[in-house]
Amino acid sequence: MVTLVNGLIAIGAGLAIGLAAIGTGLAQARIGAAAMGAVAEKPELLGRAILLVAIPETLTILGFAVAAMVIVLLKV
């Protein structure tokens, strides 16, 4: 049943992963731009560049973990 509490929990879970994803996006934008600049000069750095770009994704995953815990533990 959809109640106000459940709705607020769902919004909280959404914010947890949404804000984390925004943070990841901002970080990846800057890292990606710098990494591509480096790759343009040294193409052999592509592997390292992808690695660096991928690092902030963990933020989103942690956001997902928090969202999942909010939903599961509070039993929406």
Partner: protein, 674 residues
């Protein structure tokens, strides 16, 4: 795994250096390295100048041979590719070349005798091609101009002469918008009304103009055009005195004749060089071998009467190399294995994997080539990467479609793109795991399988009860993977006698074990009595990592441990990406039931296609990232240099090969020259 390489030293008499290099070149099992204190003595002074001259001559001959065969459309360059293990070298790169089979001077003489004829034929072809290109441009330009003045097109040369008129074709730059207007004004000033100027854009850059004026005013018009820097379009000589229309017709006739003439000239050229191509190919290979051996001279060391070479060879090939060299040089050479220092990180790296793991090698090298004496993670990657991919996709239908697509693409693309053929087993393994996990979760096109009565062997990912088990499964896989990485890191640091790394990795491992057990207590799986040893493990791990961090360990230690826990949690993406995929499939199936049936099928097909595309791309990237960041970060040492045996053509190498110098012109150390 990394094939163990032995560091070898080859010692012999100075006079046998040619033969030793020649034998090594044909053997293709040893990568030469600079010998201690050698290069200067072998390549200094006048000897160096002789070597340089020979090297230049060889490069010139090789370039000439390449150019000659290139005229026929063949390419003498060796195919690129990764350096192969010695045993595979002959199969991949063809039989070893005998550099002495071809005399440099003989090749030079043969080419010198042949070159004038070839150059004449090439010149003839070039002239015809040039004429073809020029005429095409003129025909396009003049045809455009004729359309400006159809009346003019009707005039014959004799009519123009009778009217005492001259026709001039002009090409103006279109950059200036008023250029035609300005020209018209300037002509009016000197000719009054006695001219006719028509213009139209010919292409993006130019405006074509036709100017008709009395012959008597030709000098004044030419002077004006010269002053204004206007590009006059002079016709080629044979067409210069013809009318515009006749010029165009003549040019078109000539253009129609040219292909046949060009074909004849090219046939003559092919007939001239065709009989030589095979011998040129052999000569080129031999000259390349000579150049390589000449370059290798710079690596040799020397004493008063001996030479010594240093290099690397697979340890398993050591006996074969020794016996081959001793056999070739009649026992006048000593091959010995040198002790390899732990810090000898200049050693090359030869990766050799099982057939099943070999397709994953490029993925490891994409990250970096493992350093000598380090762990090669190819085998472990072959186990975990497809498993992670399959867990994220986990759909029987998606897996089957992906498998079919890969098999079809491999059959069609492998001949043209061998790299795809090499790496396609990675996708096939991933697709098979996706089918397997799809059966486990009872998924086919999301929940469509469930509707059709497909059972789930474990749980359905689209149910609310599935979230926690999936998260636990993902973290468990992460724990196993990270712990495996740490164990490899401990082994690597033990092998390198790096106590600080050893302490750091061990501390992290102990701390993680404590954290996992603590999670077990929180979950009620372990008794509370276990709290004390768990606390001891956590504190002990923290202390060990902090001590390993040195002066700043108190700050970096906790951060390191936090990073290790984050690494494990990072595997939650296995569940997150999978859940996103299954929910998109569920949405596609729900939308299929809304509205008319054909619309529903269309929407569902589109969304499932989109999901399949995402399900192929995203899990691949995420699985790779988990390996590169979370797994490799614990033990991988990069910066390795691929093993490049002497005599095996290397990608990107110019062509050079061995000494090719005859005994008479072989360069000797100054002290040995007598």
């Amino acid at each position: 795994m990394l094939v163990p390489l032995a560091k070898v030293r080859i010692i012999g008499r100075s006079g046998d250096l040619d033969q030793a290099l020649d034998a090594l070149h044909r053997l293709r099992r040893v990568e030469l390295a600079p010998a201690d204190g050698g290069a200067a003595s072998w390549s200094g002074g006048q000897g160096a100048r002789v070597q340089d001259r020979h090297r230049d001559q060889l490069r010139l001959l090789i370039a000439t041979l390449d150019a000659l065969v290139g005229l026929r459309g063949d390419d003498l360059e060796h195919p690129g590719g990764d350096p192969q293990p010695a045993a595979d070298a002959a199969r991949v790169h063809g039989p070893a070349v005998d550099p002495r089979a071809v005399a440099r001077d003989a090749v030079a003489r043969e080419l010198a005798a042949l070159t004038p004829d070839v150059e004449a034929l090439v010149g003839a072809v070039e002239v015809l091609r040039s004429e073809q290109a020029v005429l095409r441009r003129y025909v396009a330009l003049l045809s455009g101009l004729l359309e400006l003045a159809p009346e003019l097109a009707m005039l014959e040369e004799r009519e123009l002469a009778a009217l005492r008129l001259t026709t001039v074709a002009l090409l103006l730059s279109s950059e200036g918008a008023r250029v035609v207007e300005l020209l018209d004004e300037a002509l009016s000033e000197i000719l009054g009304e006695r001219f006719w100027l028509l213009s139209a854009p010919i292409d993006e850059d130019g405006i074509g103009c036709v100017l008709v004026h009395p012959q008597d005013d030709a000098e004044a018009v030419n002077r004006l055009l010269g002053q204004e820097h206007i590009r006059h379009v002079p016709l080629p000589e044979p067409y210069a005195r013809l009318s515009l229309r006749t010029s165009v017709e003549s040019m078109q006739r000539r253009l129609a004749e040219l292909p046949a003439e060009l074909g004849v000239a090219q046939t003559r050229l092919s007939e001239q060089i065709g009989p030589y191509v095979e011998s040129w190919t052999a000569q080129r290979a031999a000259l390349s071998a000579q150049l390589e051996q000449l370059d290798a001279l710079a690596l040799a060391g020397a004493t008063e009467r001996t030479f010594h070479l240093a290099g690397w060879t697979p340890r398993t090939d050591m006996a074969g190399v020794t016996s081959s060299l001793e056999g070739e040089l009649g026992g006048r050479v000593v091959v010995e294995e040198l002790a390899e220092g732990r810090a000898d990180h200049d050693a090359p790296v030869l990766m050799r994997s099982s057939r099943a793991a070999r397709p994953f090698q490029p993925l490891v090298r994409f990250f970096d080539t493992p350093r000598s004496r380090s762990v090669d993670p190819t085998g472990l990657m072959a186990i975990f990467l497809p498993l992670m991919f399959g867990l994220m996709v986990a759909d029987v239908a998606y897996g089957a479609i992906l498998l079919a697509l890969v098999l079809v693409a491999r059959a069609r693309l492998s001949p043209r793109y061998p790299a795809f053929g090499q790496i396609s087993p990675v996708l096939i393994a991933g697709a098979l795991w996706a089918i397997a996990f799809g059966i486990l979760f009872g998924e086919a096109l999301g929940n469509a399988g469930e509707r059709l009565g497909m059972p789930a062997l474990w749980l359905r990912r689209d149910s609310s009860q599935a979230v926690v088990p999936l998260l636990v499964l993902a973290v468990s896989i992460g724990a196993v993977h990270v712990v495996l990485g740490l164990v490899l890191g401990i082994w690597q640091s033990h092998r390198d006698r790096d106590r600080r790394e050893l302490l750091g990795h061990t501390g992290t491992l102990v701390f993680l074990a404590g954290a996992f057990l603590l999670a077990g207590i929180v979950a009620g799986l372990l008794p509370a009595a276990a709290t004390t040893p768990i606390a001891a493990a956590l504190v002990g791990g923290l202390v060990a990592v902090s001590v390993a961090g040195g002066a700043l360990g108190a700050i970096t230690g906790p951060l390191e441990l936090l990073g290790a826990i984050t690494n494990v949690l990072s595997y939650l993406r296995l569940a997150a990406v999978g859940l996103a995929s299954v929910y998109l499939a569920v949405v596609a199936n729900k939308l299929a039931g809304v509205g008319p049936i054909f619309m529903g099928i269309l929407i569902a097909a589109f969304l499932h296609a989109l999901n399949l595309m995402l399900a192929t791309f995203t899990p691949s990237v995420q699985a790779l990232r988990l390996h590169y960041v979370e797994f490799f970060g614990k033990f991988f040492l990069g910066g390795g240099r691929p093993f490049a045996p002497f005599g095996v053509p290397q990608p990107g190498s110019p062509s050079g090969v061995a000494t090719g110098l005859s005994s008479s012109d072989m360069v000797r150390p100054a002290s040995v020259r007598e």
